[in-house]
Symmetry: C2
């Protein structure tokens, strides 16, 4: 049985070196990991083949097998992603606030690494390199716990990361993998608050709940999105169809994909048939409330049924869209308050006052005016990379990049000041 | 038995009104609470008399009785504090970052209230008004759990707060008091993650540990300070004595008071006798390491003894000072890394390079150059007020004021943008 306490101690010991490492050294490590990954593509693919074989024997679906499958192209993509992180600005050391105080003291708030991250994730092996790169660049150490389905791939990738760290004269223990699949180890990790500063779960709602209930340290929960667009009576309806289609169809399996549209009664009869027919071409089916249903039913090629009692509380992650007719802004905002998970919600409108009221009153991590919910993503919003999309309220909300993996300290300078 | 779930639901329902309330309305509530407090001074003091009587019968120390005692002057002080919070800037709605993205979207990050705070505290009844005022001003609701010693005072003060809220047409349920003293209710509160967004414990290390281990929501821990000053060989020694004296003596019972001095070997023989004699006048006694001991022993009026094995890991909260001679910056930083609680640590030096190295390498919430550790305080550092001093690393570190009681949301505006 692996001793998690030992991993924790080693991570804590390594965290000092990482926190103080120069940007140049951290970038050197990232580039060395990328090189090492390419040099060892054969070993990585051989390890991945073991996972694929075990997955087939366990009867995993083709979709799951594809998620965990690596090939030369995917490996080259992972190396390129590491180089991209190396090219990002280093948040550590950034002074984001400073002032002279009336008493003559000067203070600066300086960004510092958080310390040790515990990252718990499922299937995809690329997360191993992704998280390692972001942790190293932000001066953090990481203890990784991947899914049992990718254990061979993850072991091989962890070796690559550690070799790259050592090539840059940083401690290999900065990134460690829990190499056993015993589920009790997850609980143990969540109680290791002496050595782990932050837990980042990447997976379904069950994993997030488990972490929140059992962790003794802060947990970044998120990634669950029941997302809404409210189409106001003043919206450009042709443009609205395009935005709804994009938000629902462009990548339906992800958390920022659209789940429900709320349509102003005044435009429902014009908009809903157009939405139904356009999205039906992409294979979307609909769950409509009693007022929307007759406006969409019977159209050629359109699959629509009456919305069931839980349909407006469902994150579809598939080509299904909930549809509801509302009397106006207040009813739309009320519906969102009751059913949204606080991830991404938007209004389509030509009315600046409606937009202002909507953005003030809707309390989600990302609130949109006239845009697809699909933009809630670190790369789309200029963060360069993303470690999670937070729907909890403390520390960081929405897409989290390198800066959101830092804390800060106050540096206060005086001239032998004493407190009166 | 009080139904905490009911309190939680009412707080969550009220939190929408508070989050959206204008600064003017929130300030009106704060001023109304101050007025109501002064009008009901008699009732509040009568309730406080019950607590004092119960405290005397339970054999509380005079110091504890003084902490929980209210009189007309203290009540006027509490009213003045509420007016001072009303005068502070409202953090809610502040745009702290915005940009045009390359894809044409414009985003703003806007501060919003966190939601519902759970505050668990001990003895002092003024905390009830203090926390209520900061919560209301920052658009948050609060569920308060005070100590059983002040239950009568807290009930009376909660009525005052609720009356003031209603006078400003805000829901009285925005601030609720758990009016029973059963300790099981604390555990219940920590598991109410559906309704409570953040736990703020104000008390000793035991309370903080209990919250961290049992809370399902984020916890702001802090307020425990083993604080150090390192006196470099280049320090102005006369000035150093004044800073050490201030940091140790000005208010020894608080978390930012000095616990240990680390003195460079080159100046120990000059500095330590002066420190010993000056601080002995204030009643300070010393726990010295083997090298410091002979430099301080035998001086008239100086009480010094050899430091025991746990003395450098003790938060004194009293007129005791640990003393250790070190070989230089590296040893001082190593000692601080091993023994500090990450609250407030400083260097006294005339050497800019030493100051730079110290502030880069010491990882505490507040790192000082040539100043007393006693400045780690919201009012001293320009926050106007303080809800806690955080020594944990997520969300906020060091003194937390109104801004640190907010979260943020992304408001993203486009022109019917779709993701490519």
């Amino acid at each position: 049985m692996v001793e998690l306490t030992e991993l924790g101690k080693q991570a804590r010991a390594a965290s000092r070196a990482l926190a103080l490492a120069s940007s140049e050294r951290k970038n050197r490590a990232l580039l060395a990991i990328a090189d090492c990954l390419l040099e060892n593509t054969g070993d990585v693919l051989a390890a991945n083949a073991l996972d694929l074989e075990a997955g087939r024997q366990a009867g995993l679906s083709e979709a799951l097998l594809d998620r965990l499958m690596l090939n030369e192209k995917r490996v080259r993509g992972m190396a390129a992603d590491l180089r991209a992180v190396a090219a990002l600005a280093d948040p550590v050391g950034e002074v984001f606030e400073e002032a002279d105080l009336e008493n003559g003291l000067h203070y600066r708030k300086v960004r510092v690494a958080v310390g040790v991250l515990g990252v718990i994730y499922e299937a995809r092996p690329n997360v191993t390199l992704d998280v390692s790169g972001l942790a190293i660049k932000s001066g953090n150490c990481a203890i990784l716990r991947g899914g049992s389905e990718t254990i061979h791939s993850n072991r091989a990738l962890a070796r690559v990361v550690q070799a790259g760290l050592r090539a840059a004269e940083l401690p290999g223990e900065a990134v460690q993998m829990i190499e056993e699949t015993d589920r009790k180890l997850v609980l143990e990790l969540l109680q290791l608050d002496e050595y782990v500063d932050l837990i980042i779960p990447r997976g379904g709602a069950g994993l997030h709940d488990f972490c929140r209930k059992n962790a003794r340290m802060p947990v970044i929960t998120g990634g669950i999105g029941i997302c809404h667009l409210y189409i106001d009576e003043s919206a450009d309806l042709d443009a609205a169809v395009r935005v709804i289609q994009n938000a629902k169809v462009q990548r339906p399996s992800v958390c920022n994909a659209l789940d429900t549209i709320l349509v102003h009664r005044e435009v429902a009869a014009r908009l809903l048939p157009a939405v139904a027919q356009r999205l039906a071409q992409d294979g979307v089916s609909f769950r409509a409330d009693p007022e929307a249903l007759p406006l969409m039913a019977g159209l050629p090629g359109v699959a629509v049924q009456a919305a069931g009692p839980r349909d407006f509380d469902t994150e579809w992650l598939s080509l299904v869209l909930g549809v509801k007719v509302v009397g106006g802004l207040d009813e739309a905002i009320g519906h969102i308050a009751a059913h949204s998970t606080g991830h991404s919600d938007g209004i389509l409108t030509g009315d600046a006052e409606a937009a202002r009221a909507f953005t003030a009153r809707v309390d989600s991590a990302a609130v949109y005016v006239n845009a697809s919910t699909r933009f809630t993503d670190g790369s789309q919003l200029g963060l360069g990379a993303e470690v999670a999309i937070s729907t909890q309220r403390l520390h960081a909300r929405g897409p989290m990049g390198l800066r959101e993996l830092t804390s800060y300290k106050w540096v206060i300078e005086g001239n032998y000041h004493v407190r009166p």
